[in-house]
Symmetry: C2
């Protein structure tokens, strides 16, 4: 008789690829959001020799269970879904908590118990014979700090522990007992079985029938019979005398159904279909106590951390990410968080892809650009004819003192360059361009024609046009062009303590009663309003807070329009419009005009119809204007 | 007989010191504003030798009339008011137009004519005998472009032109006719006369009585007599045969009153009281036609520009100014323009000198700081415990991408440094400090005590405290301290599409019904609200435009409070409060709380009283808290 010894198992070590965290982060942000339901994930393990490709090194290699970016079913390749060649697929459960406190306080013993009960149920119901993979599972408890790119996690590998521990009766390398030919036959048999039954993946548990040097591999289910055969399992362990973790639940199954009290086990540690007869696999005889009900077993299996303590680990991905990517994901995160709880129907992608043209890179233009960036807009074009002057930076949050030196940098390209310093991923450009204005003298006809052409191209090439200039007449041509090209036109204008933020209607559209533009309710044609103005009339003399308020509202108005199915033609609403309070509408009222009064902190929502003889947006003026522009 | 020749006069050249423009700019901005009444100014001229200190160079020196920073009566030193030693004071009229168009289109001939009429009236009334300075005047037409530091101007030196021109009968240097002793006596006589009668300044016109080598100088009035004497004038010209411009109107006076048709004129070109007998002065005999009414004379005198054309000149001071000073004046200009027409009672100096403490250098803190800068606030202190993260720059307009690299710069000092890049004149500092919060664990007692001390010192050292953090409980200690120190406390907090901007009352103040603080209407004591929050609750998940709006209103609320005589104790107003619409009040309503709703673009003005058992601002809590803090 041999001296018996307690059977000890080498535990799994979780090996988490960064792609797994990346995918989890993405899902959390876009899909799961605040839903912390359990998710099915899939890991893999291989034999120690396959993992290390060397028998010698296999001894020292840990028994790894790997999860990566394909662990999530919908992200998995076909191979990952069905099993990867020569690896064992292991199904697991992910529980990703919303807060770190929840991660810390959740009852971990209960979690593992629950996973173990599932294994026990599979055994008691006999389902484990038909689907042996049910015996080998894992759970992952995680908290994803998307802001800091830190993932706190803990893996559990539920194992049923019999009241009476199993013992090793014998342990020997296969090559000590079998001929080379028989070993080679084993490799081939497992390979054929994997290929035919499991698309190349090795099933974790199987039966082995030997007849002389011939070896056949059969389903575990078929091995549930009283005749003499070997039960095989794919062993991640490389340690002498210590098989890997999957054997624990296999023994629980056998102890429940077999009347024998010992079995021969093949700890398969090789790569199927390879080797001329070399092997690192072992044959063991294991003794166990039959059991009537595995539900009575204890469950163990929380992984120890690198210090050998039963405690979570942290994966800090921030340090390994490219800073620009870090910026991208951080900004994306902030936006998407809005969708988690507060505005689930936000169409952030639509907002992000809106190309915005900002006519005027002054106080309004700077604030509008920053607010667009905050909403995730990535294509921002500035137009301005001026240079940065010393009074600008304290009111125009895209310029610094140094931009004023040596006569001042041209405002439009300077604004674009400084916006890129805020967020390098922005597609910002600036055009130094004087917008032709009615009533102003044309001093250079050729230049004016070129300016008009540039303006037409710019308006045609953008989705939304912001009118952010400081005179009435400079808004005329862009209004005309915006109307003709059917663009969203947002107009903002400041008084001393009042502001107007409005959207222009799209004339000729299918809207029942199209709304007007800036000029529709105006009987005076635009003319030179800059001449003969004293300094306080030439400069924009406003309460300093006004521009920030008006600019923010202009951008919020654009984003609201983008969320309406009719876009720029969305019917004008006031606070009394019932639709404005529809829960499906994330952003509330879509007014035509907001007239703000800072002296009373009051905003008035008003609207006015389009005027078919409007001096700016009517088709008559368009026809007249284009006729005039034709060369003689 | 000599051959007679027409008498020609060397015109004045205006010499404007930059200090004159500086003073004009200051006055326009702060005093005159849109009032374009004529202003009295004073210039000076000296003899050519005094100006050049060299007889040789005097010939080539222009006949300059100088105006400088002391030209404005209220800015003038005593000497400038009464006359500067050895120079002649010349009174002038400044007409500074509000617009360049007005400058261009004003009837310049009429302007000069009017000035000439005043001279003619002084002659006809005889007043010119008593006040000869009335014969020598000037007018300055100007337009000050304060934004570009460009001054367009034109000087006119009104001269009456007789129908029959005067002629030179003879011209000789004084030293050709007089002995050295007599010349020395002349210098002494003029000096004595200037010192005794004119505080050192030389009167432009005087009489000279000669008896042998003795010379006496008398008032011009005394020279209006039929006996033989010389009429003297201080001559700015250095040209042979061409006396300076002041002689023109003197001849008009003499032609009106003298029955003689010629006089001897001393063109005094020296420096009184100097020289042992050297002289550069001339004696001329001038013939003229008596006149009955000088009002019939033509008036000439608009200065020619450097190209010899009768046209205005431009002084561009922008290029010679220190860029930092340019920034200062430009910012100052923008603010002061508000007072010209729109808000005449604005107390910009009070706003500028308010020391502001910003608790929180995030989205709200960045916008608040920029808006304070826009209002001219110069003392801004940030407090924050965090570092700049990648999601910050697109929402927090004081940070750039580069501030996020390598773990991120500490936010408070980074915000201060970046604010100084906007405007180098700002006094901005940043303190990295964790504000102690009730309900949060104290991990380092010593550090917490030090943090409390720093916070107390900071609050005591500022006039206004902004609460711009992202948790409820972090506002507690600053509320307590702000209340105790009687500071203005402005609180801003964001929801997803709602915001609260409020001011705290000052408990224990003399206000009839003090208004409450953030905690006054709250039955729940502040505790840890950050624990156990999911990511969307930890981050400030708000519509991107919201922070700009709330921050601007927070700053506007502060500025409103500063304008109220009761300051932080100003009674809470809503739009219905009649006083809010007082014309003398530049900024309208001073609410207690603004509750903003972006989904409906509505702001609600509400107010609530202070609660004498408030967990934050009541004196009971203060006493309890200070007692607790005492070392055992």
């Amino acid at each position: 008789m041999e001296s018996f010894q307690l059977l000890q198992f080498e535990p799994f070590k979780s090996a988490v690829d960064p792609t797994f965290w990346h995918q989890l982060g993405k899902r959390k942000l876009d899909v799961y959001q605040l839903d912390q339901s359990e998710r099915r994930i899939r890991g893999h393990y291989a034999t120690a020799t396959r993992a290390t490709k060397s028998v010698e090194r296999a001894i020292a290699a840990p028994a790894q269970l790997t999860v990566d970016g394909e662990a999530f079913e919908e992200a998995a390749s076909s191979a990952a879904r069905h099993g990867r060649p020569n690896t064992v697929a292991v199904d697991g459960t992910l529980l990703n908590t919303n807060t770190i406190e929840e991660f810390k306080t959740i009852d971990k013993q209960a979690l593992l118990r629950k996973a173990g009960e599932q294994v026990a149920t599979a055994i008691e119901s006999g389902e484990a014979w038909r689907q042996p993979a049910l015996l080998c599972t894992f759970i992952t408890l995680a908290f994803a700090d998307l802001k800091k790119h830190k993932y706190t996690y803990w893996f559990g590998f539920p194992a049923l522990v019999a009241p009476q521990p199993a013992q090793i009766r014998s342990w020997s390398r296969v090559d000590a007992a079998w001929s080379k030919a028989k070993i080679a036959a084993l490799h081939v048999a497992i390979d054929v079985y994997s290929q035919q039954q499991h698309q190349g993946a090795i099933p974790p548990f199987f039966g082995v029938v030997e007849e002389g040097d011939a070896v056949t591999v059969i389903d575990l289910q078929a091995a549930n019979a009283p005749h003499q055969l070997i039960i095989g399992f794919v062993d991640p362990s490389g340690l002498e005398n210590h098989p890997g973790w999957p054997l624990r639940n296999l023994i629980a199954l056998l102890a429940r159904y077999f009347t024998r009290t010992s079995i021969r086990v093949l700890c398969y540690r090789d790569t199927p279909g390879t080797g001329e007869g070399d092997t690192f696999s072992a044959l063991a005889e294991i003794a166990f106590t039959p059991s009537a009900n595995v539900h009575e077993y204890k469950v163990v299996g929380w992984e120890k951390n690198t210090h050998g303590k039963a405690a979570p680990r942290v994966a800090d991905l921030g340090g390994m990410m490219d800073p620009r990517r870090l910026a991208d994901t951080a900004i994306d995160l902030n936006l998407k968080l809005m969708r988690w709880r507060l505005a689930t129907t936000l169409q952030l992608e639509k907002v992000a892809s809106t190309r915005c043209l900002l006519l005027g890179a002054g106080t309004l233009g700077s604030y509008v650009a920053r607010c667009l960036l905050g909403w995730g807009v990535r294509h921002i074009t500035f137009v301005d004819s001026a240079t940065v002057s010393f009074s600008n930076p304290v009111r125009q949050p895209l310029f610094n003192y140094e931009d004023c030196l040596e006569g001042g940098r041209p405002k439009a390209p300077c604004a674009a360059a400084n916006l890129a310093k805020v967020y390098p991923g922005v597609n910002a450009t600036g055009h130094t361009l004087r917008i032709p204005m009615p009533g102003h003298p044309v001093t250079d006809d050729q230049q004016t024609q070129a300016d008009i052409k540039t303006l037409i191209d710019l308006i045609a090439g953008h989705d939304a046009v912001f009118l952010l200039m400081d005179s009435r007449e400079s808004r005329w041509l862009p209004t005309l062009l915006g109307a003709h090209h059917g663009k969203i036109v947002i107009n903002a204008a400041l008084g001393f303590d009042t502001f107007l933020v409005m959207r222009h209607g799209v004339p000729g559209s299918q809207a029942d009663a199209p709304i007007g533009c800036y000029y529709c309710n105006d009987v005076v044609a635009p003319t030179d309003s800059l001449r003969d103005r004293s300094l306080d009339q030439q400069c924009t003399v406003t309460r300093p807070g006004l521009a920030a308020i008006a600019s923010a509202m202009a951008v919020e108005l654009l984003v609201s329009i983008l969320h309406h199915p009719q876009g720029a033609n969305a019917p004008p609403e006031t606070d009394d419009t019932p639709e404005a309070h529809d829960k499906e509408r994330p952003l509330g009222v879509i007014p035509h005009q907001i007239r703000g009064h800072l002296a009373s902190y009051r905003n008035l929502l008003v609207h006015g119809p389009a005027y078919d003889r409007c001096t700016a947006c009517s088709s008559k003026v368009w026809l007249y204007w284009t006729a005039l522009r034709m060369p003689a």
